[in-house]
């Protein structure tokens, strides 16, 4: 379960102090898939980053399975991300110098899943995502859809409890985008992974009722 309580965050930029998040509060059950919707600059990415411990909120707390992740040290946050979080970014997610299999190997190595178990998991992921035979392919050789599927496979390779996707369909056509989101929802449901997708794609909003709307860092409509 993820519980966000009164989370606020401000940035200092050339425009002065900008409120990225203002007193955001909500709770999400394990295995639930949530869409964070809003226009560009509404605070979706900042909220995603705070939940994923990439950023620390100025105030408020975020509890993940009862643990306040805002109180963690830098090292603990890195270890939390390593074990509990999977990220899918907008584009250019994959490490360009590693093959598809090596990209999938990365989070497994980080989590000390090695040897036979590692090989089995990589094979399983490639088969599941319909990318069998792509083991030795380089990211540059993949299409946008294939690349995002591999990024998704890598994000869930170590079975995290949280999957955070920031505009994962931005570089895809609508059919591929829809297919990817459907895959995300179904896999997260089956693995009890809590899913957060930040998007401003109207089409995706029709795929679920579990949406948090953000505007200027404030929640406009809760779950």
């Amino acid at each position: 379960m993820v519980s966000v309580q009164d989370v606020s965050k401000q940035y200092t930029s050339g425009r002065g102090r900008v409120t990225a998040l203002a007193e955001i509060s909500f709770s999400v059950q394990s295995g639930q898939g949530i869409i964070l919707a809003g226009k560009s600059g509404s605070g979706k990415t900042t909220l995603l980053n705070c939940i994923g411990t990439l950023e620390r909120p100025d105030s408020g707390s975020i509890l993940c399975n009862g643990r306040d992740i805002c109180a963690l040290s830098a090292r603990e946050r890195a270890l939390f991300r390593r074990q509990e979080v999977g990220f899918v970014f907008q584009a250019g997610n994959l490490l360009p110098w590693l093959t598809v299999a090596e990209n999938l190997q990365f989070p497994l190595e980080l989590n000390a899943i090695r040897g036979k178990m590692q090989r089995k998991r990589i094979e399983e992921l490639l088969t599941h995502f319909g990318l069998g035979g792509y083991e030795k392919a380089m990211p540059a050789e993949l299409s946008g859809g294939e690349s995002q599927r591999i990024a998704f496979a890598r994000a869930i390779a170590h079975s995290p409890s949280l999957l955070l996707a920031d505009e994962p369909t931005a570089s895809l056509d609508s059919a591929n985008g829809r297919q990817l989101i459907e895959l995300m929802f179904s896999l997260c449901r089956s693995q009890h992974t809590t899913l957060f997708i930040a998007t401003h794609d109207q089409e995706l909003l029709e795929m679920t009722d579990e949406i948090i709307y953000l505007k200027d860092g404030r929640m406009r409509q809760s779950l």
């Binding site: 990415t45 980053n49 990439l54 890195a78 939390f80 390593r82 110098w97 980080l110």
Partner: protein, 386 residues
Amino acid sequence: MRFGFILKISGLILLRSWRATVVLAFMVVSAVASLVFLSSLAVGTNDAMIRNSTELFSGHIIGTDIPRKGDARLLAMAGVERVLIRRQRQFLLWKEDALEPVLLVGIDPVQEREGTALSKKTVRGRYVEAGEEALYLSQDTARRLQVDVGNEVSLGSRLGVPLKTFQVVGIYHTGISHLDQGQAFCPMDAFPGEEGFISTAVFLKPGTSIDNIVAQYRKILPSATFTPWMEFMPDLKQLIDLDDMCMAIVLTLVFSIVSVGISCAFLIFTLKNLREHGIMKAMGVLPIHTASLLVTQIGLLTVSAAAFGTLLGILAVSLFAHTGIDLSDFTSHNQYFVVSGVIYPRLTGTALFAPPLLAVSFGSMAAVWPALYVIRKNPAEILRSV
């Protein structure tokens, strides 16, 4: 994160970004190869200076107070190229009213001609030959005695008792004061009487440890005195030590500059891959592992480039090690280049290992800046900005 995995990822990054790797490696390869060659050239230059100084007459080791002539033969051992035996004693030389005290040195003309370059310093006449009652005089002594080639001079004891008459067959000039003043040479069989101190000039093969040979000599002939060239030519020793120091400074300076170059180039390379570092940090890679990844990349790059550079340097040295680099045209005006103006680059432990070791240590330092840059960056900041 296992070191093996860090090593694998570092290797793959270098291999699959081969263009950038080649450019970065080129700097290290060229620096190491040049400096292996330059260091060997510096050793060769020192060798040439020593050769020009010792092969004129003295050898690398002077042995004095040798008890018997036969004892000198014990000095021939591994690492020794030649042992020249000489007999010497103070006499008086005179011609008419001119009188000059000299140190007369009895030599084996054939062996001396083979092993020393004194005969090349003849300004008039010729070098002495075995079996003749002849003298080879320094120009200064000849001038004082007012004699020239073909003249006869008398030789007597220091009390003025006449012993022998010699014909002057050659006059030399070396430009080195202790050889140019008060010295005269005659064939060993013409040396008057049986008295006279036995001395030796020992010539070593290149790369032989002079201290080791001197130590062995002192064991074999404890009553004799053995002096290495560093003690009787302290000015040359000082020059060579300064030369070595200068070379060390050049090596350090070159690698400092190269490492700044590597650091800048590697920072650009790291900035190009900054988003990937951001993704890895987001995946939970710890700062120590980010630093290890960058240090290992530079380490792998410099180690392999330094190894390749060392091989190239060895190749360049071996190309010139036997033929040498002939600088005679530039050295002919200098009278002290009596033996040769050819420099033979020679690899020593320092010349071989100092450049690659410096490259690797300075190269590792070059990783600090890019590593600190990436570690300090927040992953969210990286992902937002790139």
